[in-house]
Amino acid sequence: MDSNKKYWKGLEELDQTTEFVELNKHEFAEPIPIEDVLTGGGLMGKTPRRDFLKALGFGVGAVSLAACQPVPVHKSMPYLIKPEEITPGVANFYVSTYEGQAILVKTREGRPIKVEGNPNDLIGKGGLSARAQASVLDLYDINRLKNPVKNNGDYGWEQLDNFIKDELTAIKAGGKNIRLITSTITSPSTLAVIADFITAFPTAKHINYDAVSYTGIIQGNQNSFGKAVLPHYSFDNADVIVSFGADFLGTWISPVEFIRQYVQTRNNKSLEAKKMSRHIHFETGLSVTGSNADARIPIKPSEEGPALISLYNAISGKTLPGDASLTNNKVAANAIALAAKELVAAKGKALVIAGSNDVATQILVNAINSLLGSYGTTIDLDNPSHQFAGNDSEFTEFVAEMNRGEVDAVFFLDANPVYDYYKSKDVVSGLKKVRLSVSFSDHNDETANICTAVAPNHHYLESWGDDNALEGYYTILQPTINPVYDTRQAEHSLLVWSGSAAKDYYTYVRNNWDQKLLTIGGLTGQKGWETLLQTGFIKAAPKAAGSYSFTYALDSVSQKILDHSKALAAASGSVEFALYQTVALRDGKRANNPWLQELPDPVSKVTWDNYANVSPSDMKKWGYEDGDAVKIEANGYSITIPVLSQPGQAQGTISLAVGYGRTISGPVGDNVGKNTFPLYSLRNGTLQTSGVATLKPTGDNWPLAQTQTHHSIEGRNSIIKEATFKEYVKNPAARSGEEEDHKDYDLFWQKYEHPTYNWVMAIDLNACTGCGACVVACSAENNVPVVGKDEVRRRREMHWIRIDRYYSFDDNGDGGKTEEHEIANLDNFDNVRVVYQPMLCQHCDHAPCETVCPVLATVHSSEGLNHMAYNRCVGTRYCANNCPYKVRRFNWFNYWNDARFENYIQNDHTVLVLNPDVVTRFRGVMEKCSMCIQRIQAGKLKAKIEKRPLKDGDVKVACQQTCPANAIVMGDANDPNSEVSKALKSDRTYYVLEELGTQPGVGYQVKVRNITETEA
């Protein structure tokens, strides 16, 4: 229906007033004064020009002011073509190998940022050492060689290849010797490449040269059993372990594996089964291993031989000459008698080892082990370790050859004898007579520096390869990043120079596996290869253990040992010294790694230095203070080095670490400490680590950078709780305080609800060996800055997790001298007992830090975590003052952008190692352990994407993940079946400073010592 309705706008329209009609004629009802504006004074007036100038002036001023603010340009380049496997923000893990251990490499957007143990790895079962954790930093080391070098000038690969090939052809024609000097190579493919090279150049010979060698053991086994091998030890099978200076938890052969084995008879599971191994340790300086021993007896290097002879005599009932020479050390003599008794009682489950590199000593050790039935139970000669194959006499002969002018070409792969050979001068003078010397070092090092040419090798994370550290255990090494610099794998170089047909080293490795190795693991073809690249290793069935009877005549052996001992026994006015490796730096090859330099020594807690360890009694006697520089002279070599008072050091001896005093390693490692390798000596064809030196004070004091300067717990039993194994067996809760009545002060406090998760941690003090792997793992995971020696001296290291180490002194068997004033009056510091306590943010439920922060920068989460909001922090430091555990770390400087710290991490390359999931912290901000919150979030997200609840073990924090001893367990306390809930239910669980009512989230388990009544 049509509508006739008519709408009107107002009564005026309805009425059609004249006014309306008039106005309705125009477009706009009211006139617009355009004309006035255009014709009037509007444009002509004085003000517009002035206004214009004002506006112009203001505008220009404002714009230029705004432009003064530099806007940082951050280039973020998206993938033009995104690689299929990469999702930005999601980490990829690749299997690879670190020194024979199967590992997982975590990469983000194509760059490796962290190394973690492969959970199936036979050596560490997921555990990794501090050195492995730190290895990723070397990849981005800006001081690596960026291209080949000839005569210390930059060079190209093609030119270098032509040059070396020409030289080799000429040398081959000349018929003089060619030598390949490498540290021990466990890679079958590399060994094959070397074999090919030797085929191409028949005068070539491969010499294994280890800076710290195990020739003594290998030769000893050759002499005793006709097998020149480094045996594989099983500490988990041993009920009684007696070690003579073998630091098997720190530096001896395969410490990660040994830690894992060792704690299996000492951890919670073993204790609950009322089983604990017994470990007796004889050594000169206090090592990590000695500090974990149930009984530790300091002996001088000269007493080691007589002690072993006494032990042999006590076990065998025979009398080798020299038994009497231990009369000077009654304690050691008693301990030997006791050890012998215990070893015999544990026959078949006993193990005796010695760290000595002396063949005779090792033969005697073999004799003892043979008597104890260790072969086939705790020692395996048929499935040996390949980790060290260095041959001291071969290398010594090589140096002589060079000096005789018999060598025309020498190649150094992972070997730096100019630094670490005891007669460095002979190497230097010999090299001058060599026509062609080539180093494969990825850094300019002491040896590379005087070589004709350097063909820089890849970092292992850029390399293809494989490893065979243990018999039958083959691991694969695959690159996780394109080479950062213009380097080339050493094997590739050797292939090129020997004119091999292989296209590249990858093809070579692949062929080697296809032809020889894959079948061992039951794999074949492309599929097998792909499986290998996912599992990381293959394992052959172990070879059957043969039976070994020891028949070597011991008379000449004991005579040699006694001669050695007599030569060592220091004349008056001099001291015996022993050289050792530190857990962090070992032989010093990777001295340019700041994470390792800043890792405190597990025992002394010193960073960035080596020093002479002196017994506190000798310190008093000789009038030294910590840090006093002394001049040490031995073997015609002298160094000036600070002294450190070290309880447990045998009186009248000093211990010195090797691996320091590099002169050409990079800005981090250069001139840190003093080189002690020249103090080595050659005896009976093997390099010896002990000798006699004189000490002279210089009057200087060089303060050491120690992260802990007070060493006793002052009788504070709520920090460290210890029990003897006897007490534990009688009553597992004896010392944890579990049975005492707890007063509950909860009344006053609001209780935090943890509706979903409650993240807590359990740390077993009996499993922790103090190795420090967690510290480096945490630094790598959480971008913890390196601060350098001076800042550590000022007590400002930034580590989120530290390992507190406390000494107590055993006086008359009571085990408990812990207070400063008592210790000051002690005469004898030999009977030191050590306990390690990893200390990190305790994530208290009633956190003292939270209440005092004025700006709510640190708050509690509903998951039981103590959060730190860096952006909100204004830096009053009250939280750190109020933290009873002193775990908060303040950014005193802008460590990421302050020229004074430029040696370390802040350069365009090294920052690539940073974990993008964790922000770096600005100056003036507090930081601390976050319980790896990024990992918790990642775990939760993953579970969510997979539409399943979070499982126990989905989230592993960095320290827990790397711990070879599995001493740290983190998880959800709301899940009664989680590993951590079970661990915390242990009778041994206690909380540090529980009485303060902070309700910490980290539970510790009482340290148990297997101490017998009979020992004094």
Binding site: E797, P884, W892
Partner: protein, 490 residues
């Protein structure tokens, strides 16, 4: 004004012959109206060099970071908070003198309150600079204020004593400033009335149009009383809250309920010592001996003795409680003050604060100007060490022996502290040049002329207790410079 007849046993508060209202104005304004003398210039040069050092050291800290100080992972506060508490404590005397003594009608305060209040304000400024400069990120110093913001619903933590501190110090500073300035108004008007040219204009603006009418005076006194009422609780609250910065923590040596009264007593103790230090010099240099007399010096020494003894009792209580609590950490902390590596700091603290002030039991010591001056400085050295001991010596060895560490100050630590003293004296020296250092208006209230005539009349009358007469005559000898013969005659 003071025209009432006074008891014979009241000692004269202003001494000297022929002190008239005009004389007072002339005496007090001499430094304000004349060019400064050589002593002032020397003092000002040294002080402003100190202030420049402060500017340099604080700028250095801001540029490079707090790491330039000697702090470490264990000792998170040291000279910074020591200096802060020390200055806040010094600031306490001013308010106590101006407010509490006013309420208690202690007229002798009239001669010293102006300088003491000025000192309060300068000391609080010095303290406040520490609050900002000790922060890791000082450019965010406004974050502890509960300001509405665009960061989302982020608020401050009202549980944190540091937030209470912000309130306490800012309130204290603003109230002290208002009180001080209000008191200045009549004196500023006096200067205005005597000045010419640009100075007159400036003082005219500053005196807020003071007319001097009876109504103005009446309102002035009312406002002063009200402000005194407001300030009185602040005297107690500020240092109470400062003490809670420590007392609410769980650090052994800090976690102590005795802290509030102990800190307040200590603050008054150090504040009076600082007033003593300043006024003993000022009265001499500016020739104000007739207004700041031996009576004042002795009175202040008595307060120093009293508060010093309270502090001493607090120390003993702390030791007893540390022993009696059976808490091993607490016990160790207190033992550590004597047998630890900082034993010398502990000795300075207990020696200067407790032992040295006990000398003031002797009248001859209280009345000896050089000794009083030295002791007043000893007190403030002792009080600095008290804060150092409480802060550094408690922190450096607390619960976990693994973290025990020593604190070594750097040149920046020392420069900031020495510089803050320079800053304080720069401000104080400027103050005595541009503002009357004695509250003229209030001193005129206690002018002795009329009361003295009344007393003379009483003496002439002769039926006073002879003992009281003797007391009065003695006090004249002690404090005054009048001819005793005038009184002997009657």
């Amino acid at each position: 004004m003071a025209s009432h007849s006074e008891s014979i046993i009241r000692e004269p508060l202003i001494t000297g012959d022929n002190i008239t209202y005009a004389q007072i104005t002339n005496d007090v304004l001499r430094p304000v109206e004349n060019m400064p003398g050589r002593a002032w210039w020397i003092g000002f040069t040294i002080a402003s060099l100190g202030a420049s050092l402060w500017v340099f050291a604080v700028s250095w800290t801001f540029w490079y970071g707090i790491g330039e100080w000697g702090l470490n992972k264990t000792v998170g506060w040291a000279w910074d908070i020591t200096g802060f508490v020390w200055w806040v404590g010094i600031g306490h005397a001013g308010t106590l003198i101006s407010a509490i003594l006013l309420l208690f009608r202690q007229n002798w305060r009239n001669s010293i309150n102006r300088s003491a209040e000025a000192m309060t304000i300068f000391a609080v400024i010095c303290a406040a600079t520490y609050v900002v400069s000790h922060m890791g990120r000082p450019w965010l110093a406004y974050w502890p204020l509960p300001l509405p913001n665009q960061f989302g619903s982020i608020w401050v933590n009202f549980n944190s004593p540091l937030v209470w501190d912000v309130f306490a110090i800012s309130t204290y500073f603003s109230v002290s400033l208002v009180f001080w300035y209000t008191g200045l108004l009549p004196d500023l008007a006096s200067i205005r009335d005597r000045a010419t040219g640009i100075r007159q204009k400036i003082y005219s603006v500053m005196s807020f149009g003071w007319t001097g009418s009876v109504k103005t005076w009446q309102r002035f006194e009312t406002v002063c009383l009200i402000l005194a009422g407001i300030s009185t609780p602040l005297v107690l609250s500020v240092h109470t809250i400062v003490s809670m910065d420590f007392a609410t923590s769980l650090e052994p040596g800090w976690h102590t309920t005795i802290f509030p009264p102990y800190f307040v007593a200590g603050a008054i103790f150090s504040g009076f010592a600082m007033v003593q230090t300043l006024l003993l010099v000022t009265r001499k240099v500016l020739g104000l001996e007739n207004y700041i007399t031996m009576f004042h010096i002795e009175a202040m020494n008595k307060i120093i003795l009293l508060t010093g003894s309270i502090v001493g009792v607090a120390y003993l209580t702390e030791f007893f409680i540390a022993y009696y609590s059976g808490n091993e950490y607490e016990r160790y902390t207190f033992l550590n003050r004597f047998i630890g590596p900082y034993w010398w700091a502990g000795c300075m603290m207990y020696g200067c604060n407790v032992l040295m002030t006990q000398l003031m039991w002797f009248k001859s010591v209280r009345r000896n100007i050089p000794i009083s001056w030295v002791l007043s400085i000893v007190v403030n050295i002792g009080m600095w060490f008290e804060r150092f001991v409480i802060i550094v010596v408690s922190l450096h060895r607390d619960f976990l022996p693994s973290s025990w560490a020593m604190f070594h100050p750097t040149w920046v630590d020392m420069s900031v502290f020495i510089g803050s003293i320079g800053l304080f004296f720069t401000m104080f020296l400027l103050f005595i040049r541009v503002l009357p250092s004695i509250a003229m208006g209030e001193v005129k209230l206690i002018l002795k002329s009329t009361s003295e005539q009344a007393k003379k009349k009483l003496l002439a009358h002769g039926d006073l207790d002879p003992e009281q007469v003797k007391y009065y005559k003695d006090s004249l000898v002690k404090f005054d410079s009048v001819e005793i013969a005038d009184y002997q005659k009657v």
